[in-house]
Amino acid sequence: MTIHPNNHLQFNPQIQVINLDNGGFIKKTDKNIFDWSKGSLIFEVHPFFEVLRNFEENNLFEKKTLNFPCIHIEDGKVEKICDITFTLEEQEVVIILFDYTTKYRDLNQIAQQKNESILLARELELKNKYLLEKEEFKNSFIANINHEIRTPLTSILGFVEVLEKTKLTFEQEELARIIKRESQHLNALIDDMIDLSKIESGKLKVVEERFSFYNLMNGFKESYSKITEEKQIIFETNIDPNIQEYLIGDSTRIYQILNNILTNAFKFTEEGKIVFSVTKNYQRTNKLSLNFKIEDTGIGILEENIPYLFERFTRFNTDKRVSGTGLGLAIVKNLVDLLNGEIKVNSAPEKGTSFNIKLPFKFEITKATPKRKKKKYTLPKSTTKFRILVVEDEEITQYLIMKILISQGTFFVDIAINGEEAIKYIERRKYDLILMDLNISKIDGYQTTKIIRNNYGDKFISEIPIIGFSGKSNDITRDKCIRSGMDDFIPKPFEQEELIYKITKQIAKKATD
């Protein structure tokens, strides 16, 4: 802020004139601003005037007159902001005080606002940076913890599957079922945490793909038929027949949204019915909006709880028999927002709950062709068993994979505990496929794959089908596997069927090459 000297020419300030002798004593003064007395030493009335002492010492009165704008002077209870002028006369120094307190206080407000806004912007910038760093840390923490949890979880789920195929007593069967259910619940919690973290960090991308709308809807009917029977409730589905057979949208996310709401409806409804209806809101050119309504006659939600329904880790039901992560509806809300949709909820305790979800879709105007089904593969005919090298350092996973593969009766299995050992094995023996954990010691799975692909002229080595596996089950890991030269990727925890399918597929493909 620029302070103009000689403001007294433009304003009408109060003025006080003080005459000093050469020793700094007040010879004469009016008392228009401050009640200073004749005979007082000026250096003692306010420290500002000490400057006069230095001026004399330093011979600074070359200009005869000196202006000091905007000086805060306090004397007892009187506080003023003055422009002060010193003039050197022959036998005295004349001091003139111009009181501009009101004007300066107005200016002060403007300066305060201006500076505060700059400082606030800077503070926000820093906070934003801090939040971004925190978010990054959170995401990497979730990704790491996910990996750490999934590895033992894979073993638990896998061994339960193996266990279920053995001869068990009724009690053992029940215990195995509980272990499986709880492990699946833990797995679902990890999936939810990762999804939420991806959505919140903007890493979850919406995919626009063509999918069979009716297949998706029928899937719900099938999925919930068992629980409908068990609970002896009615599950009614009303789908508008005018909705196109094939739509374009992110079917995975749409399934996730609807499945979450339906799961809740079934969880909290002990009698009565659940009605799932889908109607068209509007249709224009190749766009349409659908309204999904899921109504239940369940326990309902208290009105005061509704605003918190979509918050993370929110659970209003304290019944421990009803499982849930408390993340489902937070994910639903985030996904609906991500798909540019809307979600509304109406509920009354003991009467039931109704969710209304509006979602936009596109559709092809041209005639649709059905989606391809998953291709079936069979192992090529062979007089000997197929030899698989499992590269994995965790004993429990080694044992699980071995158990699954050997139980098929068509595979020999060798185990290597790290990349270095894997290289030695493939140099000694011919393998039909390698199952490669990505996180192994010495040389990691990616690097080991690159060595196999690039360092050997022998095609029996360089072209061995390799399937990577890891607890990091995201698209980035899959892409990284493919880029390093692997043929496929399987996330942990894997289902026995999926593992056998992928192994069969790769061996069959290699045989036809």
Partner: protein
């Protein structure tokens, strides 16, 4: 005659000159940011090691936005020391430090200028010290008006230096 020296606090706005001023003079601190318009002046008497008393007249000037040349020259006349204050959390407050010091050196040849980085409570001392050194920012002291860390010692050392 009692020994009296004029010391001027300089630097960008919002770096905490007034907080240092209040901490040194009255041993007070407030989180509230209040713009200083013009200059406020207070004195504090300090005891020197040789037993003499020094009256330190501290001029707390209005912070500038760009360069020290914006500060009114009459405020700087007759000074015995300058304290150039910057905010360790805001690089824009020390980006012009070297030019500003050059300006002071050219125009006030005999007046020593001390550099103080304020708001040390918000950062890690070692990290910021290394960072500033890597940016060629020379400083005499890193302090915190909020926690009073290094404030009193800094002024005591300054008092000794300007009365040598």
């Amino acid at each position: 005659m009692k020994l009296s020296k004029k010391v001027v606090l300089l630097g960008h706005f919002g770096v905490g000159k007034t907080s240092l001023f209040r901490r040194f003079i009255d041993n007070e601190f407030s989180e509230e940011y209040k713009v200083t318009l013009g200059v406020q002046i207070k004195k504090k008497t300090v005891q020197l090691p040789d037993g003499r008393e020094l009256s330190m007249i501290i001029w707390d000037t209005e912070g500038h936005s760009n360069s020290i040349e914006d500060t009114r020259k009459s405020y700087l006349l007759g000074s015995h020391a300058f304290i150039y204050v910057f905010d360790v959390t805001r690089p824009e407050t020390y980006r012009t430090l070297n030019q500003d010091l050059e300006y002071l050196k050219e125009n006030y040849t005999k007046v020593p200028a001390k550099i103080l980085g304020n708001k040390l409570d918000l950062v890690n001392e070692k990290e910021i010290s290394n960072h500033l050194t890597s940016q060629n920012i020379y400083f005499d002291c890193l302090a915190s008006a909020k926690t009073n860390k290094n404030v009193q010692d800094f002024f005591s050392d300054l008092a000794k230096e300007i009365t040598k």
